[in-house]
Amino acid sequence: MAASNFANQTFDESEEEDEDFNPQPVAASDDENEGVEGDGDAGPKPSRSNSAPRVRPGNDSEDESTLKRRGISPRRRNGRPNDEADEGIDDELDGDNGDDDEGEGEDLNGGLDDDDEDEDDDEDEEAVTGRPRKRRRKGGLNQFFEEEAEVDEDDDAEDDEDDLGNDGFVADTHPDDLAALPEGTETDDRRHRELDRRREMEASMDAERQAEALRERYGRRAAAALTESVVVPKRLLLPGVDDPRIWGVKCKVGKEKEVIMSIMKRMQERQHTKQPMQILSAFERGAGPMAGYIYVEAVQNAHIENALDGIMNVYPRSKLNLVSVKEMPDLLRVTKTEELQIGAYVRVKRGLYTGDLGVVEDVESNGLSVTVRLVPRLNYGIDEDDKNPMLGVNAKGDPLAKRKRMNAVGTNVVATRPPQRLFSENEAKKRHQRYLASTGGALTGKAWNYKNETYEDGFLIKDFRIQHLITQNVNPKLDEVTKLTKGAEDGTERLDLESLAQSLKNNTAENSYQSGDHVEVYDGEQKGISGRTISVAGNIVSIRVEEGELAGQVVDVPMKGLRKRFREGDHVQVIGGSRYRDEVGMILRIKDDRVTVLTDMSMQEITVFSKDLREAGDATGDGRLGNYDIHDLIQMDPATVGCVVKVDRESMRVLDQNGSIRQMLPSQVTNKIEQRKDAIATDRNGSEIRYGDIVREAGGESKSGVIIHIHRAFVFVHNRTQPENAGVFVARCVNVTTVAAKGGRATAADAKTNMAMHSKNGDGAHAPMAPPKSVGRDRMIGKTVTVRKGPYKGVLGIVKNTTETTARIEMHSKAKVITVNKDELIVKDPITGQTIDMSRFGGPRASGSSRPNYSSGSTTTSRIPNDWSAGSRTPMGAGDGGRTPAWGASARTAAWAPHSSSSGGVDGGRTPAWKPQSGSQTAYGGAGNMTSYGGTTTGFGGSGGGGGGRTPAWSSSARTPHAGGEHGFSTSDGFDSFASGGRTPAQGATSGSRTPAWGGGGGGGSSTFSAPTPGKPYDAPTPGGARLHEDFPTPYGSTAPTPAASASTPRFAQDAPTPRGWEAGGGNAPTPTAGAARGANTEPLLNSRFEAAPTPGVGGGMTPAPYGSGGGVGGYGGGGMELMRRRLQLGWARGRGISIVMRSDDSDSGSAGVGSFVPCWAGLGGLGWACAVA
């Protein structure tokens, strides 16, 4: 046997030598063999720790000696270790192949198995192979190696073993070997014998004692492992300088566990190689602050790279972070997971009830599984029938359907799951009777089994594994809790704040403490102290102690032992996650950390945790609440805005746009609307209103105040004298009228709104009218002009484009376009360079656009009525102020018109033309058009009074009259005069001063009218005119004088126009007019305006002309005329109905409205006039 062994051995040797020639691949495994042998040489030291000694690499020289020795010595000592080593290797190879679970399992455990298992394996193996003796003897030897050689064994290894012919190694020790053996061998032998003896003894013992001994033996061993350091307190285990160091190695976040497993695998792979892993251990701490790192324990960091190189997801070549000795224990610190208590709140992590709050009903003894009470989400099979009636069938057979359904339960449920509702057996019975079974006792009858789930008292009772529950930072909301609360017998809810507290205890939000809070420490070392918080850093709160012996000191306290301290009567605000967030109230009761608060707003008692409270800042005395101050405009909901009218400590009263008062919390405010000071609206009369203007309610209480907000159609107005709502009231824009514009802003001159309307307003008339817009191409365009003032004074250019007030001029001098006010332009003849009177342009135009109007009696008449408006109502009723009579007078004006017309249709024509010139085109036109419109009309009225068609115009521009007068009434002159007059009006318009003056002048006759339309030059005349007209003589006489140019005017009146006009009309201006008007009104007005127009004699016809022209000729389109005419007819037919028509038109924008309006009035006016005449 020995010989054969020897032979085998030599064979081995030769093999090894071969391998030396061809070292790499196979050498490793052989080396391993040698290594093991070397171990054996080193002594039969326990191979259990063989990994350490075997670390030695490159054993070649040793191999030699070993072989020699082996050659001499019998195989005994080599036998087992070698076997086992081989087996171990094979085992690992197997493990590498990953062929079976068990192998892997063993690998995990470092290839070490219990002896028992070894025995088992052996037996199994013998049963299979039928190999008789070897194992037995091995068993014997095993006894010898028991403690030391706990090397893995595997069945497969046996074959290899056989192949190698290692059987012989189990032979008895040869005496020679003994001699060659090192000292330890002797001991081994002795121990061997000792063991044998012990076995015999054991065999002789009775079974019980044997069992006990066995237990003791293993127990001791286990105890040795289990209790080794138990006695040693951890502080004695703290690492020292001699301990291995720990390095942190970066790895891919989330892959820490995989890395550790990979290291484990590599460790096992290399365990028996030349280069086993030299690291001692490696660990990870998963998610959290230590994510992205694994920690490797090693003696030197070179080992780490060696060990980790090539492992996925770990980066040993990046910087290794050496963990200081002091911090090493922290790496392994374990904090106890808060144990779930019955009644605690949890949330479900996955499944149908994801995110739902539940109450722990029961905790299993190992703390790993809990029974949770949830509010069910059931639809009782409703969707089965509706959506997929086949599902029930398919679910059984069709895996696809099944999977679908599982999906439906698994992933997308959260979006589609049924709402939380208590279990209703009635509902369940409807469709799912078959799934329903009552499990409750006869007494309660409230427990049901439905679809394999248990429902008690309507709640779902379900078991969850703890890892499927969120147990920390659950933050139960009170409404959720309420849902989960079992109703008490009497139907009242029994809210268990105790258990709520349980869940809330540890999830103090970081922001729950703010500096300045009164706190007390109720737990921990500093228990009992109280003070004010100074700062909060993470979970540590710094407190300045205010009471006790520590007073004045600053103490750091962990947040968990802290609670806020309040006193009864404190005014507090609810913060944090409570349902009552932002409520403010006074503390009524304090019990532990539960505080009952009487809310300020609803006067309810609410109970909250003290951590959710803070002192309500009395510092809100600055009248602000967060971002919101009194009089701020806030968005309450997408459709509603409101104005803050009262700011309480934590809430505010808001006056919304509908005029109702609401109490709001700052948190309910959607948005604050910044003050828009440039917001513009139009009031009831169409004049613009802005922030800061003083307005008065048109109806209701006629409250007035200053606009503080304009929002869409609403104005919020502040009235200091009004006590309620902080003086704020809300009104619609259309229900206020301007009293005064802020800063004396001239609402007239630059207003885009209709002056005429204003004037009427003053009279209490309504019917605002939009200004007629000039239509068509501005004739200025293409003209050569010079600028007569401003920075561009003197510049020559061509008008390229215009707006109402400005013109863009392309300069001749350089290629540049400038924008200049129109009224700063002088039109030049492009060839001669002579100044051209724009009135000349006006001429054609007048004939083009205004003439028609003019000629069409309707417009004309319409104009008159315009002024008649007041009169129309009370056509002849002198009762309506001076105006109506004035209208009567204006009827005369019409009469007057005839005069002018009599003086020449041209004259009448011009007048209009003139107006448009200055009126529609220039600024005068812009603002003035409308204004002038009324103004002119009135002017006419006045003029009518004055007795000259011009005069009116003149009258509007007080000075002009002179000129006009001087120019005389010769048509040609008239033109000129008008040209100049055209400007004048403009001036007149811009500078209101004259009018007043004028008004003053005329005021002699009529002081009343000057008042109502103070700012409006044109308005003034009207009344004046009106007044004047009342008494025929006066008008004539006075109108002229009134303009201040009293001297000239009269003269003028008498000179130019009057003569003619008067010639025609004679002293009885009115009468003819009346006649004319009558004619016009009755027939001509309606049917043939043209007729009326041309015939100067027809006062109505002519009169209109001036008016029409005055009124903004441009505005009147032919079509508009037709329309007007119809309306007029209608108006006639309906009598009073006219006014309605008019109004409806009034609401329209633009000239049409004006136009139509006017005719109506015209009709009325005519009527009225006729009446008057009659």
């Binding site: 990994s51 350490a52 990953g98 679970d101 068990e102 892997e104 399992g105 063993e106 995990l108 455990n109 470092g110 070490l112 219990d114 028992d116 298992e117 237990r215 293993y218 127990g219 286990a222 105890a223 040795a224 492992a225 289990l226 209790t227 080794e228 350091s229 138990v230 951890k234 502080r235 285990l237 690492p239 301990d243 291995p244 720990i246 995989e258 550790i260 497993m261 990979s262 290291i263 484990m264 695998k265 460790m267 001692l280 251990s281 490696a282 660990f283 701490r285 998963g286 324990e297 392994l332 374990v334 106890k336 997971t337 003894s365 190992n366 703390g367 790993l368 594994r465 703890i466 890892q467």
Partner: protein, 116 residues
């Protein structure tokens, strides 16, 4: 072990070794088997091992590692251990351990403060 799924891993509540359930069933706990006798006793495995654990340690050389000392893994087999094992051993097992002279150290972190 490596490369296999990380699911179904359990940690022994006594020694904190991490294995799959099938391994426990096949061989029991390599360290505690004499006491716990987990092999082929699925119920015992359920009782004495936990699926809830945190932190993995590859223990290569339990004898020399400070980590092993600190985690009280000295004398155990090399392998993968958990830093923290959540769960509670059944009372009778604990008393059995006591009977064996083994002081059971809960590995769920509850005694951390006390020991320091």
């Amino acid at each position: 072990m490596a490369g296999v799924s990380m699911r179904d891993l359990r940690a022994c509540m006594v020694c904190s070794i991490v294995q799959r359930f099938s391994d426990f069933r096949a061989r029991g706990c390599p360290n505690c088997e004499p006491i716990l006798g987990l092999a082929n006793h699925p119920e015992a495995i359920q009782d004495c091992t936990s699926r809830v654990f945190e932190g993995l340690i590859t223990m290569a050389q339990p004898t020399q590692s400070w980590v092993a000392k600190w985690q009280r893994l000295e004398g155990y087999v090399p392998g993968v251990y958990a830093v923290k094992v959540v769960g509670e051993l059944p009372r009778d097992i604990v008393s059995a351990l006591e009977g064996e002279g083994v002081k059971y150290i809960p590995r769920d972190g509850r005694d951390v403060d006390e020991d320091r």
